[in-house]
Symmetry: C2
């Protein structure tokens, strides 16, 4: 985390994508030429339900919340995007259809982003990014499948323990309401889990 904050945004991006595929300096120059920088202030939206997602973003600073709202007006967080995470509504972006998610900054944030049109051009200009996005897609599929499995088959207590263990650097920056929304439980039930936990220590 502290190392990432010191990195320049494009170094940060290179570091992230080279976990999947290596690029030469000239290849990375082509790729990075398609990305632009953007700031999103706390409480601002990068995407709202019903809009068409025009961009795919890579978080270089801050923290965003990706969520949906149910028929009762309650929000359900799909995931939090800390720095080094990609952010977007894959369905809306890929098919250029209305989003069924909200993306909101919960801290002042900065992203690098690529537009839908530029991503298409990038695939033409540098076919090697096919492998990159194929591998990144696998990575996201694995994470999303695990999120669904956890939600279907684990208790809220276990999911809470695993969340704070797996993402301590995120958990510390969230309110109880944020965490309850991610775990799919009420604020009151989360307080109960926390009290029980303190008691057992």
């Amino acid at each position: 985390m502290s190392i990432q904050i010191l990195m320049k945004p494009f170094e940060h991006l290179r570091n992230n994508i080279e976990k999947h595929v290596q690029f030469s300096d000239s290849e990375f120059e082509i790729l990075s030429g398609f990305f632009k920088q953007k700031k999103i202030n706390k409480k601002e939206f990068l995407l709202q339900y019903g809009e068409i997602s025009r961009l795919e973003g890579f978080v270089t600073q801050g923290l965003l919340k990706i969520y949906t709202i149910d028929y009762e007006g309650k929000d359900h967080t799909i995931y939090f995007a800390d720095s080094d995470w990609w952010v977007g509504d894959i369905g809306s972006f890929t098919n250029q259809t209305p989003a069924n998610l909200f993306i909101e900054a919960i801290e002042d944030s900065e992203i690098l982003y690529i537009s839908f049109e530029d991503k298409e051009k990038l695939f033409q200009e540098l076919p090697k990014v096919e492998e990159l996005f194929r591998r990144m897609g696998q990575f996201r599929l694995i994470a999303l499948q695990q999120r669904l499995i956890d939600h279907l088959s684990k208790t809220a207590d276990t999911r809470y323990e695993e969340f704070i263990t797996k993402y301590p650097q995120i958990a510390n920056r969230l309110t109880n309401l944020h965490i309850a929304s991610y775990l799919g439980i009420s604020h009151e039930f989360l307080s109960k889990i926390r009290r029980k936990r303190t008691h057992h220590k």
Copy 2:
């Protein structure tokens, strides 16, 4: 469905992948050379929890259930794979790590499959499949994200209605227990939803 059953398995595969990317006859010949056929009888497993997934399959006939089992021994269905669906544990296959899913045939089934090693060779021999798997990955991500959103934000009644409307050809072949496992509710609660529905007609 009826058309697909009349198709030969490899025609079926070509039909499926060309929804994403077009291949010439000679390209498809290279691709299909890496796939083998396999039968899985009803109640047999294609993958069990803890095993390493060695193959990625494409269903040409039958129906399979992909599920996890919780700490109480209750099963939770992630999805059903009818003919024209791909089947596998993406995490276990990609990283060659132990599976956290079971894949079981609930009808006598037939698949075409590619092994982990052959898939790596296929990417070398026919780089165009990078685009294919990139696009198929997007497609799966969209479906999985929607599944998670539905589960987090919709009532069981709504999810039941949407399931039987979206997949009538699957719903007809499933028991109440199968459907309850997919919806994440008890058998009894599903019966209650069904009675209420009949009553309202």
